[in-house]
């Protein structure tokens, strides 16, 4: 299917995924101004069910899934006992005793294992359903207009971070208003056997709306502009949610204990070791993952993600830097293969939709 569309495929966490179909810049711009369709079937889907599923997830995750209304979703994290990030997740509450958790492809097995361990002894079951779902995302300002004629339900009734079961082009799907691009958009969980026909139906509906198939390369620049972290770059077991500026996902107001609570409480109040900042490059050479950030000529941090930003027309990067440097400086530099390239410190995100 993707090869018929001329895709360049890449191995990603053991999945052969489309990196780009044509020009990744054109794909990126299509999502910002019209819409893009992505195959995200590599993402992990975990089902957590049973009467004790809400309590088990409150214990296993940093958020409070028990407080979610059925049909709503939340961005959350699963942490190690010492407060490091094991993965960042979207938790969809499908019913009183039914959740769907979307994990990063490379972390799915570890998350499934941790959830199973943390749910032990409770009336809740954790199943890895990754092979049971294809995931198609339609993202961009035209996404709703493209999907509306195909959907059995009114899309206006589907709020941001909500989901409902629906018929799409005659096929049973879970339709969610979530995404990873900084635009309005939808994520469609379908049976793998329906994926190719859904893709074709949506692509046909997108003719005239400027819909383009988009790959992982565009997905990465879109999320970077939107200031969204990527596991393995901004997030890892070595950083806490607070380091990443995402302390809001840790719900200390939950009544009961949860994995990492004590360590996270310390990390929430301790002087931070680093801060996640945005950098806009002032030359055309792009700061990339792993490059040193310089302040007054000495290293004060490390770039976690960097790319040329199609929307800003300049290189952008996220970086962890020393808090004193983040406080004091507005002008920094990045060591781009031996040459210090000036970069301006900016608030995240780089892009916010109007």
């Amino acid at each position: 299917m993707h090869e018929q569309l001329g895709a360049s495929l890449t191995d990603f966490a053991g999945w052969l995924m489309p990196l780009r179909y044509g020009s990744e810049t054109a794909e990126h711009n299509a999502v910002r101004t019209a819409a893009g369709i992505f195959d995200l079937s590599h993402m992990g889907e975990l089902a957590v069910t049973g009467p004790a599923a809400p309590a088990a997830l409150d214990y296993a995750l940093t958020g409070a899934p028990s407080a979610l209304q059925p049909g709503r979703a939340r961005y959350t994290m699963i942490c190690t006992p010492d407060g490091g990030v094991l993965d960042d997740l979207i938790v969809y509450r499908l019913g009183a005793a039914e959740y769907l958790i979307v994990a990063n492809a490379a972390n799915t097995a570890a998350v499934a294992e941790a959830l199973t361990e943390r749910a032990a002894g409770r009336d809740a079951m954790v199943r890895d359903r990754t092979d049971g779902y294809a995931l198609i995302a339609v993202q961009g300002p035209r996404a709703a207009a493209i999907l509306a004629p195909l959907a059995s339900a009114e899309l206006d009734g589907l709020k941001y971070y909500a989901s409902y079961p629906a018929l799409l082009a005659g096929r049973q799907v879970l339709l969610a208003r979530t995404g990873y691009t900084g635009e309005d958009g939808f994520e469609i969980f379908a049976a793998p056997g329906d994926a190719a026909e859904l893709w074709t139906a949506i692509s046909d509906a997108g003719v005239g709306h400027g819909l383009l198939p988009a790959g992982l390369a565009a997905r990465d620049t879109l999320r970077l502009e939107a200031g969204m972290p990527l596991y393995g770059n901004e997030l890892s077991r070595d950083v806490s949610p607070f380091d990443a500026g995402l302390g809001r996902v840790v719900r200390f107001d939950k009544p009961d204990d949860f994995v990492g609570r004590a360590a996270l409480a310390v990390r929430a109040t301790a002087a931070p070791q680093r801060r996640l900042v945005g950098l806009v490059g002032e030359s055309r050479r792009v700061p990339r993952h792993g490059y040193d950030v310089l302040w007054n000529g000495t290293k004060c941090g490390t770039v976690t993600s960097g790319a040329p930003s199609p929307t800003l027309g300049a290189p952008i990067a996220m970086a962890y830097v020393r808090p004193d440097a983040a406080e004091a400086a507005t002008d920094m530099a990045v060591d781009v293969r031996g040459r210090a390239e000036p970069a301006r410190l900016v608030e995240l995100p780089f892009y916010r939709r109007a």
């Binding site: 360049s8 990196l19 780009r20 020009s23 990744e24 810049t25 390369a217 990465d220 620049t221 055309r284 050479r285 792009v286 990339r288 790319a307 040329p308 293969r337």
Partner: protein
Amino acid sequence: MSVPDELRYTPEHEWVAISGVTASVGITDYAQRALGDVVYVSAPAVGARVAAGEPCGEVESTKSVSDLYSPVDGEVTEVNPEIEDDPGLVNSDPYGAGWLFKVQLDDTGAEPPPGLLSPAEYTVLTKDGA
């Protein structure tokens, strides 16, 4: 993928067109496809000495940056002025408007300069996934 017959190639995916004492250099169609959208090219400056097989610049794309290697020995006489403002020419027309720089050859006796690949050899190289 296009591999024009009249050009010679390097294992690092540059092409070279030799006309008398002058060599024009760019990157191949295979290279531009592998790189994705080119956003910046750092070509050697006019007057710079370049040596065959040595890095002389860099090609930056959305996902990566790659060294640019000179296919020949000589002195840079011209750099494509259009590339600065429109690096996408490397993607849209790698063998034409997307040329990168021209070199006055040191040794005009050897024809063609040693170490370069024929179109057939380069095609084999790219099919092997190099």
